[in-house]
């Protein structure tokens, strides 16, 4: 007699989460100020994040493979969960970086947070309109990072649960079909 395929025996892939590793957000931080780079790096590490820090928008694009020098080959495995960038930087601003990221098919889903020492409403509006996840006033506080992290983890959890639920429904559907076919 053929074995009945039960839903629990169907293989549910582990790779449903885009987290760099369980519980660990990988953050790319961009700031031209050495003091602020050191500060944000520590802030993020203390908040249990994996951190990569670069000193310019250009370097950020290089890191992501969006600088035109490289194709996206080899960058699919790059798991970045959040990008935090300073607004005012020489060369390319954080706003311009935000636009480039949102234009890229590979990275447009990654939340981008803008940091600025200046509380300029039109600037904030423009960034949010362009798809920024949040706009933080510098100096950034531990509480800000915690809030960001919690909301991102919740979004990941929701997305994960949705996928699991969908797979469960699919598995149940297959099981019922098999049962009806009296296999």
């Amino acid at each position: 007699m053929a074995e009945v395929l039960r839903p629990e025996m169907l293989d549910i892939s582990n790779d449903t989460s885009s987290l760099a590793s369980p519980e660990l957000l990988h953050v790319l931080a961009v700031d031209d100020s050495m003091v602020d780079r050191k500060f944000i790096e520590r802030l993020l590490r203390v908040s249990s994040c994996k951190v990569t820090v670069v000193d310019s928008a250009t370097r950020a694009l290089q890191y992501l493979g969006l600088d035109g020098e490289n194709s996206s080959v080899g960058f699919e495995d790059l798991k970045i969960n959040l990008i935090m960038t300073d607004y005012s930087m020489p060369g390319m601003t954080g706003y311009e970086l935000l636009k480039k990221i949102k234009e890229s098919s590979a990275f447009r889903e990654i939340p981008v947070v803008i940091m600025s020492s200046e509380n300029i409403l039109p600037r904030i509006d423009r960034c949010l309109e362009e798809g920024a996840e949040d706009f933080l006033l510098k100096p950034v506080k531990l509480a800000d990072v915690k809030r960001l992290r919690d909301s991102l983890m919740k979004a990941e959890e929701r997305a994960f649960k949705n996928i699991m639920h969908k797979r469960e429904l699919e598995a149940n559907d297959i099981y019922s079909q098999l049962k009806r076919a009296k296999i």
Partner: protein, 155 residues
């Protein structure tokens, strides 16, 4: 009778409080201390060192720009003071930050005399803070060497 450790700890507490009360430091310095632990025991010292290096570099840039009499690049001075204001804000250097705001205003109005005067004050102020923080770190070291723990100071 107070032990040496208790005396040092009291000195440390009083000195820290005075730095806040006299406006040398603000809340952001407290945030920096929160980020220091056994894994990163010198974090605050490292950050403020970077800050003082920033001060030296940016002040020197601004002084050079202001030296070009008749041909002062106020935009350059403005962008340098913006950077300095940013980093002073990030470490909690309250007085330096305040002076940067004034300097920025002088710059925006192309007030040459004002810029020169203000820049001199910024220079004095950061050096004063540097000396005071050095004293604070020395006190910490003395406490640790005497076998004590550095007290948490609530402002």
């Amino acid at each position: 009778m107070d032990t040496l450790i208790a005396q040092l700890q009291r000195q440390f507490r009083d000195y820290t409080i005075s730095l806040y009360h006299q406006g040398f430091l603000d809340d952001q310095f407290t945030e920096l201390k929160k980020l220091q632990d056994e894994c990163s025991p010198d974090f605050v010292a490292e950050v403020v060192t970077l800050f003082f290096e920033d001060c030296e570099k940016l002040i020197s840039n601004m002084a050079r720009a202001l030296d070009q009499t008749g041909n002062v690049d106020f935009k350059l001075v403005g962008s340098s003071v913006h950077q300095l204001k940013g980093s002073s804000s990030s470490v909690g250097a309250k007085r330096v930050k305040g002076l940067c705001i004034t300097l920025k205003e002088c710059c925006d109005t192309q007030n040459y005399e004002g810029c020169v005067r203000c820049l001199q004050q910024v220079d004095i102020e950061y050096k004063t803070l540097k000396a005071k923080l050095q004293d604070l770190f020395n006190l910490e070291q003395q406490i640790v060497q005497a076998g004590g723990r550095i007290p948490q100071v609530d402002i």
